[in-house]
Symmetry: D2
């Protein structure tokens, strides 16, 4: 909403919330008071009513399992849908069931949907009527790895990923584990050893490698509001150097406005990307073990969620793809 309120090509005609229906957006989120457009009132989440507003696009920020039915109703009403849940990210109903614990409610639409990562699925996004916008961790993991796997510079076996995420990643809910005193001065792993995001990460890595990729991924909760830092370690193919990585990245992301290449030996820092749609990527070669160390940083709720969704929206609707996204 922060992005859409300031997007020159967007008129926000409807905001829904089952919990807050009837309240003004700016009352619930006082940061938005006085901002043009923020006097909108939340309405109930009813697909027919949404369609009746004349909206051409809908962004869904719903729990997985819930998004699917709204997605179906809205695309059938003629809207193009950008879904931020996990419901439309996977191609395989079986993998969905394995990781999300129940059968997908609409496998047909799920398989029609496009994985909304602009850097690697731009052409499909253009034509799609429904987008599964990538998860926050996956975005920070896929962007550094995909080009190297596609080019065969790193081996698809033995990839080990560690990430830290800000507390906003857990959502805004009353739960003692996200109480200030439980998170401040704390760093801890969670979701070990099989976080749900592995399903989409491995789907896209396998696509890039041309073979099945299975990785070890350990997410951590860190005491910041927003931001994901990911450190990925992978074995290099024989003879590969840091310069090869540099050349590969520069080619892969020459036209990617929101991927910032920091260079060899340069770690990424979450503080440089918070509240922006950028992902920063640095890399190093550990010559003692012939491994690549990839370091990426993004804002989990912008590049890892809402910003990436608007990026896809820009592509779908023919806007300049950076429209509304030069957030600094």
């Amino acid at each position: 909403m922060r992005i859409l309120l300031r997007h020159p090509g967007v008129e926000l005609v409807c905001a829904t919330s089952r919990q807050y229906a009837g309240q003004r957006v700016a009352d619930l989120f006082p940061r938005f008071r006085h901002v043009p457009g923020a006097d909108l009132v939340f309405t109930d989440s009813d697909a027919a009513e949404i369609a009746a507003t004349g909206a051409e696009a809908a962004f869904l920020a719903l729990p997985h399992g819930v998004s699917a039915s709204y997605g179906r109703a809205l695309v059938e009403a003629g809207l193009r849908v950008i879904d931020l849940s996990a419901d439309f990210r996977l191609n395989s109903p079986a993998v969905y069931e394995e990781f999300y614990g129940k059968p997908h409610p609409d496998p047909e639409l799920m398989q029609e949907a496009v994985y909304g990562m602009p850097e690697w699925h731009r052409e499909e996004i253009k034509k799609s009527r429904i987008i599964g916008s990538p998860g926050c961790y996956p975005t920070s993991i896929l962007l550094p790895l995909i080009p190297l796997l596609r080019a065969g510079l790193v081996l698809p076996q033995d990839i080990v990923v560690n990430s830290g995420s800000g507390v906003s990643g857990a959502g805004r809910k009353a739960d003692v584990q996200y109480h200030f005193c439980e998170c401040n001065e704390s760093m801890r792993a969670y979701g070990v050893p099989r976080h749900r995001h592995l399903s989409e990460i491995e789907q896209e890595l396998s696509l890039a490698a041309g073979e099945e990729v299975v990785i070890t991924f350990t997410p951590h909760l860190m005491p910041v509001n927003t931001g994901i830092e990911t450190t990925t370690v992978a074995k290099l193919a024989p003879g590969v150097t840091a310069d090869d990585l540099t050349a590969c990245y520069e080619k892969a992301y020459a036209n990617a406005p929101f991927v910032r290449l920091l260079g060899a030996g340069k770690p990424a820092d979450t503080k440089n990307v918070t509240r922006t749609n950028f992902v920063d990527i640095g890399w190093a070669v550990d010559t003692r073990t012939h491994r690549a160390v990839l370091m990426s940083a993004e804002d989990n709720v912008i590049k890892g969620a809402g910003g990436q969704g608007v990026h896809a929206f820009n592509i779908m609707f023919g806007f300049d793809e950076t429209e509304g996204l030069w957030l600094i």
Copy 2:
């Protein structure tokens, strides 16, 4: 100093500082005002004067390269020395030179010194006149890995370690990169890909494995005052299960008062160990990749520095090894 001031078997007779000579300890560190013993005045760092106080033990918290000469002078004056720098941790002068960039000034004393990790070098510590107290990162990495390597439960190849450390790890110095606004809401890797602590980590891992171990280690700076969280990923030997890890840990640390075993599937959280001498260890088995994920947390300046040093001191001087260390 926080620990020694409250240790029932210690009388603090001397505190030295080149920078603060002449100032009262409690003026420089207002936290210590009114605490019995804290009206001590910093004196210059002169080994002969230290010896003249009649002290029986000295704790050195000096930069590497500087500690060596004080260590020599003090042991020759009959004190037993616990050195917190890197100068007495390594066995090999060649490795020291490789990682610290110049020849060791006193290779003989260096080779006499004992690596002061109580859990694995208790007997040597007892008899030693000089201790190289382990580094903060190494402590959090070695304690989870050593028993598994010794038991052959994990393979010594392909160990990947990620750590996050609080800002106190960088010391208390005026440097813009540790300014509040540069660290708050920030997470970043540094020292990639060859942090100096690798030298002692690999020395002790190789000792445990009975063969040379080379690992990939990526340290990060995280926005907390103190605390290290380490996530170690290693391949399991064929057939090894989470229960095997549990049994191995329970046996290895049955008599280790400061190692707390959290159990399988339980991540460690820095907030539970800050300001204590405990290290918490949890573990999980990633059955998809047959890897162990080891999660450890400690306070970098207590278990990772001063507390571990006092632990060794207790052993050297015949105190109960927990004396003064039930910090909560």
Copy 3:
């Protein structure tokens, strides 16, 4: 509990919790694992059962309104009680009802109880069987003001107090307003203009001034775990200088081990008192307006709660009053 577990004169025989009955203390608070004594199991909160343990003293950390009945049952069973709620702090049932919204359930015991501030009620504490331990804000406000009011150095009219408290002051509960992202990077007033603590603050200030004192007090929530910083502004009596304040404080607190006088022109800093039983007090004279600016800092859950309670306990039971309280 952190203090009692390490207090040499205390054996902890019972810990009660309606919510956590049956759980081990160290499981709920992992920080306490391995600490001698922390394998206690929470039992239900039953006064008869508590008495049956043979305990001689009880610390109550219950909501106001609930404490009163436990206090009555326990003193009648022969225990001496240190109550950390508001139920036994006030002398006046009418004031209690005004600020806490209902009649006090046991006005007789309330009026027997002693306000447990050791610096100003030591002799009454010695003989008391029930103590109302002071609130966190009141402690930080009363200690700087009482000596000046008693000496007539500041005027009792026109006292304005601002305080900031760490989030632990709100307790450990699932409430979205204490979510990490709602508190981090946030500073906000609350409880304006009539915080409940005003009742005990004004009771004790009036006692010191010998006349009725009514103040303006604005508490704030600040993004730290523990700590209260209080800035008190008061008009000076004619002719009073900073030196007069200094002399008054030095005399008043010459024998107060936990009151640390910083001196004129020296602000107090919460970071020097966190996790200790100290309160730091600095002062300045604004000669342009002839006002005193008093700056105090304490740990809200130690000096402002548990530590102050143990201090009173030490006095009640004849221990050295600093026993178990040299926390650093």
Copy 4:
């Protein structure tokens, strides 16, 4: 710079820095990489060279005492100047010397300059060639107080102000007192009892009250990156109620896009204004003492500095006054 890079009416032609001349803006501030316009290179701070770029306006962010000479040179070269230092905020050379410790280098230009607070000096700003943009604390103090003083609703005597500021207020410099570990988990007053900002605060309050106003002001450093929270306590004129304050504010700020009135009994929270140009104002009446408690929050580096400067710039150059300032 963050604002100017995205302002549709601005072309940034020059950025100067004595310290960083020759470096790219985006290299020093990695947050700006890839943002259109941020490939600018810092040049040395030379007024003639600045003028030669053809710039029509200059923003000065220099230490007080240094700004004055640049201000003179630039206005003489025909630029209109928005100065963020203290050099052009005061009307009285004597007050400047009293608070800043030396005579003003250019009293004539100082007296010509306009205090750049758009809400109260809009018409003068329009015509001015040099603006002294208000300080961060003063902005948060003046905006709540001016309308009440002008309307006679509060008394000009006995105003007591407490503020907390984020660490960015101290600038980005290597100084151990702003080290992460010195600020995190810390709250402390400083600059007591006579902060330099008092000079401009009292100048503007006196103007509003029509008589000399002298206040007591205590600033604090709080552990957030940006944000100022100010709590102002003032005696109400006889008979004044909370509704009177509400009516006064609504009238005074009916046309002020960046002043958000929260209403009676509503505290301001810094987290709602960080990175925006808004100031949030809430108020309460303490009927027990007949005082007003005013609570305001702003971002110290936006509304309290750069944003307010751009606001004045918009007015000077005939842009819509909100242009480039709907920052959320």
